[in-house]
Symmetry: C2
Subunit: 247 residues, 2 copies
Protein backbone atom coordinates (compact mmCIF):
# COMPACT_ATOMS: atom_id res chain seq x y z
CA UNK A 1 0.00 0.00 0.00
CA UNK A 2 1.53 3.31 -1.09
CA UNK A 3 1.62 6.07 1.44
CA UNK A 4 -0.69 8.97 0.73
CA UNK A 5 0.53 12.55 0.65
CA UNK A 6 -1.97 15.37 0.96
CA UNK A 7 -1.17 18.95 -0.05
CA UNK A 8 -3.74 21.63 0.78
CA UNK A 9 -4.26 25.07 -0.70
CA UNK A 10 -6.42 28.15 -0.29
CA UNK A 11 -7.19 31.04 -2.60
CA UNK A 12 -7.72 34.69 -1.75
CA UNK A 13 -9.37 36.76 -4.50
CA UNK A 14 -8.96 40.46 -3.84
CA UNK A 15 -11.13 43.23 -5.30
CA UNK A 16 -14.16 45.44 -4.61
CA UNK A 17 -15.43 44.70 -8.13
CA UNK A 18 -15.91 41.01 -7.29
CA UNK A 19 -18.08 41.89 -4.29
CA UNK A 20 -20.22 44.52 -6.04
CA UNK A 21 -21.16 42.15 -8.86
CA UNK A 22 -19.45 44.39 -11.43
CA UNK A 23 -16.93 41.70 -12.34
CA UNK A 24 -17.66 37.99 -12.38
CA UNK A 25 -14.59 36.21 -11.06
CA UNK A 26 -13.00 33.76 -13.49
CA UNK A 27 -9.88 32.86 -11.53
CA UNK A 28 -11.40 30.71 -8.78
CA UNK A 29 -12.73 28.05 -11.15
CA UNK A 30 -9.50 28.14 -13.17
CA UNK A 31 -7.35 27.63 -10.06
CA UNK A 32 -9.68 24.88 -8.83
CA UNK A 33 -9.17 22.94 -12.07
CA UNK A 34 -5.42 23.65 -12.09
CA UNK A 35 -4.89 22.40 -8.53
CA UNK A 36 -7.01 19.29 -9.07
CA UNK A 37 -4.75 18.36 -12.00
CA UNK A 38 -1.70 18.89 -9.75
CA UNK A 39 -3.04 16.67 -6.95
CA UNK A 40 -3.45 19.64 -4.62
CA UNK A 41 -6.63 19.97 -2.55
CA UNK A 42 -8.20 23.44 -2.72
CA UNK A 43 -9.83 23.62 0.70
CA UNK A 44 -11.02 27.20 1.02
CA UNK A 45 -11.54 30.35 -1.03
CA UNK A 46 -12.08 33.85 0.30
CA UNK A 47 -12.99 37.02 -1.55
CA UNK A 48 -12.25 40.32 0.20
CA UNK A 49 -12.34 44.00 -0.75
CA UNK A 50 -9.36 46.24 -1.50
CA UNK A 51 -8.92 47.04 2.20
CA UNK A 52 -5.60 46.43 3.89
CA UNK A 53 -7.04 45.13 7.17
CA UNK A 54 -9.26 42.61 5.33
CA UNK A 55 -6.38 41.36 3.16
CA UNK A 56 -3.99 41.06 6.12
CA UNK A 57 -6.50 39.12 8.22
CA UNK A 58 -7.35 36.72 5.40
CA UNK A 59 -3.75 36.09 4.29
CA UNK A 60 -2.60 35.42 7.83
CA UNK A 61 -5.48 33.04 8.52
CA UNK A 62 -4.99 31.12 5.27
CA UNK A 63 -1.20 30.86 5.19
CA UNK A 64 -1.20 29.34 8.67
CA UNK A 65 -3.96 26.84 7.87
CA UNK A 66 -2.94 25.53 4.43
CA UNK A 67 0.24 24.40 2.68
CA UNK A 68 -0.12 26.83 -0.22
CA UNK A 69 -1.96 30.12 -0.74
CA UNK A 70 -2.70 31.81 -4.07
CA UNK A 71 -3.97 35.38 -4.30
CA UNK A 72 -5.43 37.20 -7.31
CA UNK A 73 -5.82 40.91 -7.89
CA UNK A 74 -4.60 44.26 -6.64
CA UNK A 75 -1.04 44.28 -7.99
CA UNK A 76 -1.53 46.81 -10.81
CA UNK A 77 -0.34 50.42 -11.07
CA UNK A 78 -3.29 52.36 -9.63
CA UNK A 79 -3.95 53.73 -6.16
CA UNK A 80 -6.50 50.97 -5.40
CA UNK A 81 -3.89 48.26 -6.02
CA UNK A 82 -2.83 47.68 -2.44
CA UNK A 83 -2.16 43.94 -2.34
CA UNK A 84 1.66 44.08 -2.29
CA UNK A 85 1.67 46.49 0.65
CA UNK A 86 -0.93 44.43 2.47
CA UNK A 87 1.10 41.23 2.03
CA UNK A 88 4.17 43.01 3.43
CA UNK A 89 2.06 44.15 6.39
CA UNK A 90 0.74 40.61 6.91
CA UNK A 91 4.30 39.23 7.06
CA UNK A 92 5.55 42.31 8.95
CA UNK A 93 8.37 42.89 6.45
CA UNK A 94 9.34 46.13 4.67
CA UNK A 95 8.37 46.78 1.05
CA UNK A 96 10.33 48.77 -1.53
CA UNK A 97 11.19 48.90 -5.21
CA UNK A 98 12.90 45.61 -6.01
CA UNK A 99 15.95 46.00 -8.31
CA UNK A 100 15.09 42.90 -10.36
CA UNK A 101 11.47 43.97 -10.74
CA UNK A 102 12.57 47.48 -11.79
CA UNK A 103 14.87 45.94 -14.40
CA UNK A 104 12.02 43.80 -15.75
CA UNK A 105 9.76 46.84 -16.05
CA UNK A 106 12.49 48.97 -17.67
CA UNK A 107 13.11 46.29 -20.30
CA UNK A 108 9.42 45.70 -20.87
CA UNK A 109 8.48 49.37 -21.35
CA UNK A 110 11.52 50.03 -23.52
CA UNK A 111 9.87 47.76 -26.09
CA UNK A 112 6.54 49.60 -25.99
CA UNK A 113 5.12 53.06 -26.72
CA UNK A 114 4.52 53.55 -23.00
CA UNK A 115 6.63 55.32 -20.41
CA UNK A 116 7.66 53.83 -17.08
CA UNK A 117 5.56 56.34 -15.11
CA UNK A 118 5.66 56.54 -11.28
CA UNK A 119 2.32 54.68 -11.37
CA UNK A 120 3.87 51.80 -13.32
CA UNK A 121 6.89 51.85 -10.97
CA UNK A 122 4.46 50.93 -8.17
CA UNK A 123 4.40 47.48 -9.76
CA UNK A 124 8.07 47.00 -8.83
CA UNK A 125 7.29 47.30 -5.10
CA UNK A 126 7.95 43.84 -3.67
CA UNK A 127 7.99 42.77 0.00
CA UNK A 128 11.44 41.95 1.38
CA UNK A 129 12.36 38.29 1.04
CA UNK A 130 9.95 37.54 -1.80
CA UNK A 131 10.96 35.90 -5.08
CA UNK A 132 9.44 37.13 -8.35
CA UNK A 133 6.86 35.31 -10.48
CA UNK A 134 7.40 36.15 -14.14
CA UNK A 135 4.58 37.69 -16.18
CA UNK A 136 4.97 36.61 -19.79
CA UNK A 137 2.11 38.83 -20.92
CA UNK A 138 2.62 42.32 -19.56
CA UNK A 139 5.93 42.45 -17.73
CA UNK A 140 4.99 43.41 -14.18
CA UNK A 141 5.78 40.39 -12.00
CA UNK A 142 3.89 38.69 -9.21
CA UNK A 143 5.80 37.34 -6.25
CA UNK A 144 6.06 34.47 -3.82
CA UNK A 145 6.67 35.02 -0.11
CA UNK A 146 7.00 31.80 1.90
CA UNK A 147 3.93 29.76 0.91
CA UNK A 148 1.93 32.69 -0.52
CA UNK A 149 1.81 33.25 -4.29
CA UNK A 150 0.68 36.77 -5.18
CA UNK A 151 -0.68 37.05 -8.70
CA UNK A 152 -2.56 39.39 -11.01
CA UNK A 153 -6.35 39.49 -11.26
CA UNK A 154 -6.66 39.88 -15.04
CA UNK A 155 -7.43 36.26 -16.04
CA UNK A 156 -4.89 35.73 -18.86
CA UNK A 157 -2.12 37.14 -16.62
CA UNK A 158 -3.29 35.10 -13.62
CA UNK A 159 -3.12 32.01 -15.83
CA UNK A 160 0.32 32.89 -17.22
CA UNK A 161 1.67 33.36 -13.68
CA UNK A 162 0.18 30.03 -12.59
CA UNK A 163 1.93 28.33 -15.52
CA UNK A 164 5.13 29.95 -14.27
CA UNK A 165 4.82 28.56 -10.72
CA UNK A 166 3.49 25.20 -11.88
CA UNK A 167 6.91 23.41 -11.97
CA UNK A 168 7.66 24.55 -8.39
CA UNK A 169 4.52 23.00 -6.90
CA UNK A 170 4.99 19.63 -5.25
CA UNK A 171 1.62 17.98 -5.60
CA UNK A 172 0.20 15.27 -3.39
CA UNK A 173 -1.13 11.83 -4.21
CA UNK A 174 -3.65 12.51 -6.92
CA UNK A 175 -7.29 12.43 -6.04
CA UNK A 176 -9.01 10.12 -8.51
CA UNK A 177 -12.51 10.98 -9.52
CA UNK A 178 -15.29 9.41 -11.56
CA UNK A 179 -18.65 10.90 -12.35
CA UNK A 180 -21.90 9.31 -13.43
CA UNK A 181 -25.02 11.06 -14.63
CA UNK A 182 -28.07 9.81 -12.85
CA UNK A 183 -31.62 10.32 -14.17
CA UNK A 184 -33.12 10.34 -10.67
CA UNK A 185 -33.43 13.22 -8.23
CA UNK A 186 -31.54 13.26 -4.94
CA UNK A 187 -34.62 12.36 -2.94
CA UNK A 188 -34.91 9.07 -4.81
CA UNK A 189 -31.29 7.97 -4.47
CA UNK A 190 -30.56 9.59 -1.09
CA UNK A 191 -31.18 6.55 1.14
CA UNK A 192 -29.36 3.83 -0.85
CA UNK A 193 -26.53 6.25 -1.66
CA UNK A 194 -26.01 7.04 2.03
CA UNK A 195 -25.67 3.28 2.65
CA UNK A 196 -23.07 2.95 -0.13
CA UNK A 197 -21.10 5.88 1.35
CA UNK A 198 -21.18 4.20 4.76
CA UNK A 199 -19.84 0.93 3.30
CA UNK A 200 -17.06 2.73 1.37
CA UNK A 201 -15.27 4.97 3.87
CA UNK A 202 -12.18 5.33 1.69
CA UNK A 203 -14.24 7.25 -0.89
CA UNK A 204 -16.05 10.58 -0.81
CA UNK A 205 -19.31 10.36 -2.71
CA UNK A 206 -20.80 13.66 -3.80
CA UNK A 207 -24.27 14.19 -5.16
CA UNK A 208 -24.95 17.30 -7.26
CA UNK A 209 -28.53 18.09 -8.15
CA UNK A 210 -29.42 19.75 -11.41
CA UNK A 211 -32.75 21.21 -12.29
CA UNK A 212 -33.46 20.93 -15.98
CA UNK A 213 -36.80 21.22 -17.71
CA UNK A 214 -38.72 21.32 -14.43
CA UNK A 215 -37.28 18.11 -12.96
CA UNK A 216 -34.25 17.12 -10.95
CA UNK A 217 -31.46 14.92 -12.14
CA UNK A 218 -28.22 14.27 -10.29
CA UNK A 219 -24.56 13.98 -11.03
CA UNK A 220 -22.82 11.54 -8.72
CA UNK A 221 -19.10 11.93 -8.17
CA UNK A 222 -16.91 9.40 -6.39
CA UNK A 223 -13.47 10.51 -5.25
CA UNK A 224 -10.69 8.49 -3.70
CA UNK A 225 -6.92 8.32 -3.66
CA UNK A 226 -7.20 4.52 -3.91
CA UNK A 227 -8.22 3.18 -7.32
CA UNK A 228 -9.61 -0.12 -5.97
CA UNK A 229 -11.81 1.66 -3.46
CA UNK A 230 -13.03 3.95 -6.23
CA UNK A 231 -13.89 1.04 -8.53
CA UNK A 232 -15.75 -0.81 -5.79
CA UNK A 233 -17.94 2.18 -4.91
CA UNK A 234 -18.63 2.95 -8.57
CA UNK A 235 -19.74 -0.66 -9.12
CA UNK A 236 -22.16 -0.46 -6.20
CA UNK A 237 -23.58 2.83 -7.50
CA UNK A 238 -24.15 1.32 -10.96
CA UNK A 239 -25.97 -1.61 -9.33
CA UNK A 240 -28.14 0.83 -7.36
CA UNK A 241 -29.07 2.74 -10.52
CA UNK A 242 -29.90 -0.51 -12.38
CA UNK A 243 -32.21 -1.54 -9.56
CA UNK A 244 -33.94 1.84 -9.45
CA UNK A 245 -34.42 1.80 -13.23
CA UNK A 246 -36.29 -1.52 -12.94
CA UNK A 247 -38.68 -0.23 -10.27
Amino acid sequence: MKSIKIVTAAMLAIGDELLSGRTKDKNIAYLADFLTVHGIDLKEVRIVADEQSAIVAAVNALRQSYDLVFTSGGIGPTHDDITAGAIAAAFEVPIDHDPKAVEILEKYYMGTDYELTPARMRMARIPEGASLIANSISGAPGFKLENVHVMAGVPPIFQAMLAEVSPTLAGGTKMLSEAIDCPFGEGTIGDPLAEIQKQNPETAIGSYPRREGGRFTTQLVVKSRNVKALDKAMGEIRNMLDKLAKQ
Copy 2:
Protein backbone atom coordinates in the same frame (compact mmCIF):
# COMPACT_ATOMS: atom_id res chain seq x y z
CA MET B 1 -26.84 66.30 5.30
CA LYS B 2 -28.67 63.00 5.62
CA SER B 3 -27.18 60.47 7.97
CA ILE B 4 -25.63 57.47 6.30
CA LYS B 5 -26.58 53.94 7.27
CA ILE B 6 -24.27 51.10 6.33
CA VAL B 7 -25.40 47.47 6.32
CA THR B 8 -22.76 44.79 5.75
CA ALA B 9 -23.10 41.22 4.55
CA ALA B 10 -21.02 38.12 3.91
CA MET B 11 -21.65 35.00 1.87
CA LEU B 12 -20.61 31.44 2.57
CA ALA B 13 -20.82 29.08 -0.40
CA ILE B 14 -20.65 25.45 0.71
CA GLY B 15 -19.66 22.51 -1.47
CA ASP B 16 -16.75 20.28 -2.49
CA GLU B 17 -17.80 20.66 -6.13
CA LEU B 18 -17.01 24.40 -6.08
CA LEU B 19 -13.48 23.72 -4.85
CA SER B 20 -12.68 20.87 -7.26
CA GLY B 21 -13.64 22.94 -10.30
CA ARG B 22 -16.45 20.54 -11.19
CA THR B 23 -19.11 23.21 -10.69
CA LYS B 24 -18.65 26.89 -11.50
CA ASP B 25 -20.42 28.88 -8.79
CA LYS B 26 -23.21 31.12 -10.05
CA ASN B 27 -24.63 32.29 -6.73
CA ILE B 28 -21.86 34.63 -5.60
CA ALA B 29 -22.24 37.02 -8.54
CA TYR B 30 -26.04 36.85 -8.28
CA LEU B 31 -25.97 37.70 -4.56
CA ALA B 32 -23.44 40.48 -5.17
CA ASP B 33 -25.81 42.14 -7.68
CA PHE B 34 -28.84 41.54 -5.45
CA LEU B 35 -27.23 43.12 -2.38
CA THR B 36 -25.92 46.11 -4.32
CA VAL B 37 -29.48 46.84 -5.45
CA HIS B 38 -30.63 46.61 -1.82
CA GLY B 39 -27.98 49.04 -0.54
CA ILE B 40 -26.20 46.27 1.37
CA ASP B 41 -22.40 46.04 1.21
CA LEU B 42 -21.13 42.54 0.47
CA LYS B 43 -17.79 42.61 2.31
CA GLU B 44 -16.55 39.04 2.20
CA VAL B 45 -17.21 35.70 0.53
CA ARG B 46 -15.91 32.33 1.61
CA ILE B 47 -16.15 28.97 -0.11
CA VAL B 48 -15.64 25.87 2.03
CA ALA B 49 -16.01 22.12 1.57
CA ASP B 50 -18.81 19.92 2.90
CA GLU B 51 -16.99 19.48 6.21
CA GLN B 52 -18.70 20.34 9.45
CA SER B 53 -15.66 21.90 11.14
CA ALA B 54 -15.00 24.17 8.13
CA ILE B 55 -18.64 25.30 7.95
CA VAL B 56 -18.86 25.93 11.70
CA ALA B 57 -15.66 27.99 11.75
CA ALA B 58 -16.69 30.10 8.76
CA VAL B 59 -20.28 30.72 9.90
CA ASN B 60 -19.17 31.75 13.37
CA ALA B 61 -16.49 34.10 12.03
CA LEU B 62 -18.84 35.72 9.50
CA ARG B 63 -21.97 36.09 11.64
CA GLN B 64 -19.99 37.93 14.29
CA SER B 65 -18.28 40.26 11.82
CA TYR B 66 -21.15 41.27 9.52
CA ASP B 67 -24.79 42.32 9.84
CA LEU B 68 -26.12 39.63 7.52
CA VAL B 69 -24.84 36.26 6.34
CA PHE B 70 -26.13 34.25 3.38
CA THR B 71 -25.14 30.63 2.78
CA SER B 72 -25.65 28.50 -0.33
CA GLY B 73 -25.57 24.73 -0.69
CA GLY B 74 -25.72 21.56 1.34
CA ILE B 75 -29.40 21.50 2.34
CA GLY B 76 -30.58 18.73 0.02
CA PRO B 77 -31.58 15.13 0.81
CA THR B 78 -28.29 13.26 0.43
CA HIS B 79 -25.68 12.20 2.98
CA ASP B 80 -23.27 14.93 1.85
CA ASP B 81 -25.82 17.67 2.62
CA ILE B 82 -24.60 18.59 6.07
CA THR B 83 -25.20 22.34 6.21
CA ALA B 84 -28.27 22.32 8.48
CA GLY B 85 -26.50 20.18 11.09
CA ALA B 86 -23.38 22.33 10.85
CA ILE B 87 -25.38 25.53 11.40
CA ALA B 88 -27.01 23.98 14.47
CA ALA B 89 -23.53 23.07 15.73
CA ALA B 90 -22.26 26.60 15.06
CA PHE B 91 -25.10 28.09 17.12
CA GLU B 92 -24.93 25.24 19.67
CA VAL B 93 -28.66 24.51 19.35
CA PRO B 94 -30.39 21.16 18.77
CA ILE B 95 -31.70 20.14 15.35
CA ASP B 96 -34.74 17.99 14.61
CA HIS B 97 -37.58 17.55 12.13
CA ASP B 98 -39.54 20.81 12.19
CA PRO B 99 -43.34 20.28 12.13
CA LYS B 100 -43.93 23.16 9.69
CA ALA B 101 -41.17 21.95 7.38
CA VAL B 102 -42.56 18.39 7.50
CA GLU B 103 -46.01 19.75 6.59
CA ILE B 104 -44.54 21.67 3.64
CA LEU B 105 -42.78 18.54 2.36
CA GLU B 106 -45.90 16.36 2.83
CA LYS B 107 -48.02 18.80 0.84
CA TYR B 108 -45.35 19.23 -1.83
CA TYR B 109 -44.76 15.52 -2.43
CA MET B 110 -48.51 14.74 -2.38
CA GLY B 111 -48.67 16.74 -5.60
CA THR B 112 -45.87 14.80 -7.29
CA ASP B 113 -45.06 11.24 -8.37
CA TYR B 114 -42.38 11.08 -5.69
CA GLU B 115 -42.55 9.63 -2.21
CA LEU B 116 -41.48 11.43 0.95
CA THR B 117 -38.55 9.05 1.55
CA PRO B 118 -36.40 9.21 4.70
CA ALA B 119 -33.78 10.95 2.52
CA ARG B 120 -36.27 13.68 1.58
CA MET B 121 -37.36 13.94 5.24
CA ARG B 122 -33.77 15.04 6.00
CA MET B 123 -34.74 18.33 4.37
CA ALA B 124 -37.21 18.99 7.22
CA ARG B 125 -34.39 19.01 9.79
CA ILE B 126 -34.20 22.60 11.02
CA PRO B 127 -32.13 24.02 13.91
CA GLU B 128 -34.15 25.07 16.96
CA GLY B 129 -35.18 28.73 16.86
CA ALA B 130 -34.91 29.14 13.09
CA SER B 131 -37.69 30.48 10.89
CA LEU B 132 -38.31 28.92 7.48
CA ILE B 133 -37.52 30.45 4.10
CA ALA B 134 -40.07 29.30 1.53
CA ASN B 135 -38.93 27.49 -1.61
CA SER B 136 -41.38 28.24 -4.40
CA ILE B 137 -39.65 25.83 -6.75
CA SER B 138 -39.17 22.50 -5.06
CA GLY B 139 -40.79 22.65 -1.63
CA ALA B 140 -37.91 21.98 0.76
CA PRO B 141 -37.39 25.22 2.71
CA GLY B 142 -34.29 27.13 3.70
CA PHE B 143 -34.14 28.80 7.08
CA LYS B 144 -33.02 31.88 8.93
CA LEU B 145 -31.33 31.69 12.32
CA GLU B 146 -30.54 35.10 13.85
CA ASN B 147 -28.66 36.94 11.08
CA VAL B 148 -27.79 33.83 9.03
CA HIS B 149 -29.87 32.93 5.96
CA VAL B 150 -29.36 29.31 4.91
CA MET B 151 -30.32 28.66 1.31
CA ALA B 152 -30.06 26.06 -1.45
CA GLY B 153 -27.14 25.82 -3.85
CA VAL B 154 -29.08 25.08 -7.05
CA PRO B 155 -29.14 28.55 -8.63
CA PRO B 156 -32.87 28.89 -9.47
CA ILE B 157 -33.77 27.79 -5.93
CA PHE B 158 -31.13 30.06 -4.37
CA GLN B 159 -32.64 32.94 -6.34
CA ALA B 160 -36.23 32.04 -5.38
CA MET B 161 -35.24 31.94 -1.68
CA LEU B 162 -33.48 35.31 -1.99
CA ALA B 163 -36.66 36.78 -3.49
CA GLU B 164 -38.49 35.39 -0.47
CA VAL B 165 -36.22 37.08 2.10
CA SER B 166 -35.91 40.28 0.08
CA PRO B 167 -38.79 42.16 1.84
CA THR B 168 -37.28 41.38 5.26
CA LEU B 169 -33.91 42.97 4.50
CA ALA B 170 -33.42 46.49 5.79
CA GLY B 171 -30.95 48.00 3.38
CA GLY B 172 -28.58 50.83 4.06
CA THR B 173 -28.07 54.16 2.32
CA LYS B 174 -27.61 53.14 -1.28
CA MET B 175 -24.13 53.20 -2.70
CA LEU B 176 -24.25 55.24 -5.91
CA SER B 177 -21.98 54.17 -8.69
CA GLU B 178 -20.96 55.47 -12.10
CA ALA B 179 -18.64 53.81 -14.56
CA ILE B 180 -16.67 55.21 -17.45
CA ASP B 181 -14.78 53.25 -20.09
CA CYS B 182 -11.30 54.57 -20.53
CA PRO B 183 -9.19 53.84 -23.64
CA PHE B 184 -5.92 54.11 -21.68
CA GLY B 185 -4.15 51.46 -19.62
CA GLU B 186 -3.78 51.77 -15.87
CA GLY B 187 -0.13 52.77 -16.12
CA THR B 188 -1.09 55.87 -18.09
CA ILE B 189 -3.87 57.09 -15.81
CA GLY B 190 -2.46 55.83 -12.52
CA ASP B 191 -0.73 59.03 -11.36
CA PRO B 192 -3.45 61.62 -12.16
CA LEU B 193 -6.14 59.21 -10.94
CA ALA B 194 -4.40 58.77 -7.58
CA GLU B 195 -4.42 62.57 -7.23
CA ILE B 196 -8.17 62.71 -7.97
CA GLN B 197 -8.82 60.00 -5.38
CA LYS B 198 -6.80 61.98 -2.82
CA GLN B 199 -8.85 65.14 -3.53
CA ASN B 200 -12.18 63.26 -3.30
CA PRO B 201 -12.11 61.32 -0.05
CA GLU B 202 -15.90 60.84 0.02
CA THR B 203 -15.64 58.63 -3.06
CA ALA B 204 -14.04 55.28 -3.75
CA ILE B 205 -12.49 55.23 -7.20
CA GLY B 206 -11.83 51.80 -8.64
CA SER B 207 -9.77 51.04 -11.70
CA TYR B 208 -10.34 47.74 -13.52
CA PRO B 209 -7.93 46.76 -16.25
CA ARG B 210 -9.05 44.76 -19.23
CA ARG B 211 -6.83 43.15 -21.76
CA GLU B 212 -8.41 43.05 -25.18
CA GLY B 213 -6.70 42.50 -28.51
CA GLY B 214 -3.22 42.66 -26.97
CA ARG B 215 -3.63 46.02 -25.26
CA PHE B 216 -4.95 47.29 -21.95
CA THR B 217 -8.00 49.47 -21.48
CA THR B 218 -9.56 50.37 -18.16
CA GLN B 219 -12.98 50.69 -16.65
CA LEU B 220 -13.11 53.39 -14.00
CA VAL B 221 -15.81 53.17 -11.34
CA VAL B 222 -16.62 55.91 -8.88
CA LYS B 223 -18.72 55.01 -5.85
CA SER B 224 -20.14 57.25 -3.16
CA ARG B 225 -23.19 57.52 -0.95
CA ASN B 226 -23.21 61.29 -1.66
CA VAL B 227 -24.43 62.28 -5.14
CA LYS B 228 -22.60 65.65 -5.15
CA ALA B 229 -19.29 64.04 -4.25
CA LEU B 230 -19.86 61.47 -6.98
CA ASP B 231 -20.58 64.13 -9.61
CA LYS B 232 -17.53 66.18 -8.65
CA ALA B 233 -15.15 63.22 -8.94
CA MET B 234 -16.70 62.07 -12.22
CA GLY B 235 -16.21 65.58 -13.65
CA GLU B 236 -12.55 65.57 -12.68
CA ILE B 237 -12.05 62.14 -14.26
CA ARG B 238 -13.66 63.31 -17.52
CA ASN B 239 -11.30 66.32 -17.54
CA MET B 240 -8.34 64.02 -16.98
CA LEU B 241 -9.35 61.78 -19.90
CA ASP B 242 -9.86 64.82 -22.18
CA LYS B 243 -6.38 66.06 -21.34
CA LEU B 244 -4.81 62.64 -21.96
CA ALA B 245 -6.62 62.30 -25.29
CA LYS B 246 -5.03 65.59 -26.45
CA GLN B 247 -1.49 64.50 -25.56
